[in-house]
């Protein structure tokens, strides 16, 4: 893995598509709006100016009502292999605000997203990682938990372990 050691790995998977195409769907608004975000959200806004210093803005309206907006700036745009941008959750005036869907996430924390694309025989291997830019926030409990989560591969393990434990423990409620 070539991403910085201090970053949390979000995902590492292979797609049957050339890196040029994967890069394009990350860097053009009309594409990004089609796939980026949780299920059942309405993409209220998607603006992408993919060049170093360019701005990315996204607004997701959740079915439960809240609107979650991010504003970010591209740091690295190296087609078709590497992309990074730094974003924060903002209100309608671009001021840092609490993310209604992740209320414990520290307000104003800047998240550095890094996407790396490597050509493979099948298509593209994509590695996505994130880290928090502020060293003083990197130690806050929700962020430390995210890091630990990534370190033990929890996203894959949690569900399996819980399912296993529930099946095997008659005293579990």
């Amino acid at each position: 893995m070539r991403v910085a050691a201090s970053a949390d790995l979000i995902d590492d998977r292979e797609y049957a598509a050339p890196p040029e195409l994967v890069f394009e769907v990350w860097t053009r608004a009309e594409h990004l709006a089609r796939w980026f975000g949780p299920d059942n959200v309405e993409v209220a806004l998607c603006e992408v100016d993919a060049r170093p210093g360019g701005v990315i803005r996204l607004q997701h309206r959740f079915p439960e009502g809240p609107l979650v907006s991010i504003r970010g700036v591209f740091d690295e745009v190296v087609a078709p292999t590497r992309l990074s941008f730094t974003f924060t959750f903002v209100d309608s005036n671009d001021r840092p605000t609490v993310n209604a869907m992740m209320p414990e996430w520290p307000v104003g924390a800047h998240i550095v997203m890094t996407v790396e694309l490597v050509a493979t025989a099948r298509g593209t291997r994509m590695t996505v990682a994130q880290r928090v830019a502020e060293p003083e926030l990197a130690g806050s409990p929700p962020i430390v938990r995210h890091r630990k989560l990534a370190a033990i591969g929890w996203s894959q393990t949690a569900e399996r372990l819980v399912a296993y434990l529930e099946r095997r423990t008659p005293w579990a409620s």
């Binding site: 979000i10 995902d11 998977r13 797609y15 049957a16 598509a17 195409l21 994967v22 769907v25 009309e30 594409h31 089609r34 796939w35 980026f36 975000g37 949780p38 299920d39 869907m101 992740m102 414990e104 994509m126 996505v128 409990p141 929700p142 430390v144 938990r145 995210h146 630990k148 989560l149 370190a151 033990i152 929890w154 996203s155 949690a158 569900e159 372990l161 819980v162 296993y164 434990l165 529930e166 095997r168 423990t169 005293w171 579990a172 409620s173």
Partner: protein, 119 residues
């Protein structure tokens, strides 16, 4: 669950031996002697791990029997799973959708974006 309790659960799970102990306890209660056997560890070393698991609320020790068997309490694990759901749903859903979208773009009869890409 309090943030501190959640952190304690994470700390308890960050060790592969403790995760193996939990897995063993998922098969049924066991005492320290039974738990130390597969791990090639001394009783005191296992007890140390058990204390961490107990503090995190993942393991209970029965008082009644002389051997004081340990049993699993999966409740904190369930809370962690609930806590991680929003995060996991966001990324897993996005990257699954990205895969489907890439496939669609590459089909000759794909969406308008696919046609627009042809030169």
């Amino acid at each position: 669950m309090q943030a501190d309790a959640l952190s304690q659960t994470f700390a308890a799970l960050a060790d592969p031996t403790r995760r193996a102990i939990l897995k063993r306890l998922a098969a049924g209660p066991a005492n320290v002697k039974e738990l130390s056997r597969p791990f090639d560890m001394s009783g005191p070393a296992v007890c140390k791990h058990l204390r961490v698991l107990e503090r995190a609320g993942l393991v209970r020790r029965r008082r009644e029997a002389q051997s004081r068997p340990c049993e699993l309490d999966p409740a904190p694990l369930k809370e962690i799973a609930a806590w991680t759901d929003a995060y996991r749903e966001f990324w897993d859903a996005s990257f699954d959708r990205l895969g489907a979208y890439l496939k669609q773009l590459q089909q000759p009869t794909g969406g308008r974006h696919a046609r627009r890409r042809k030169r």
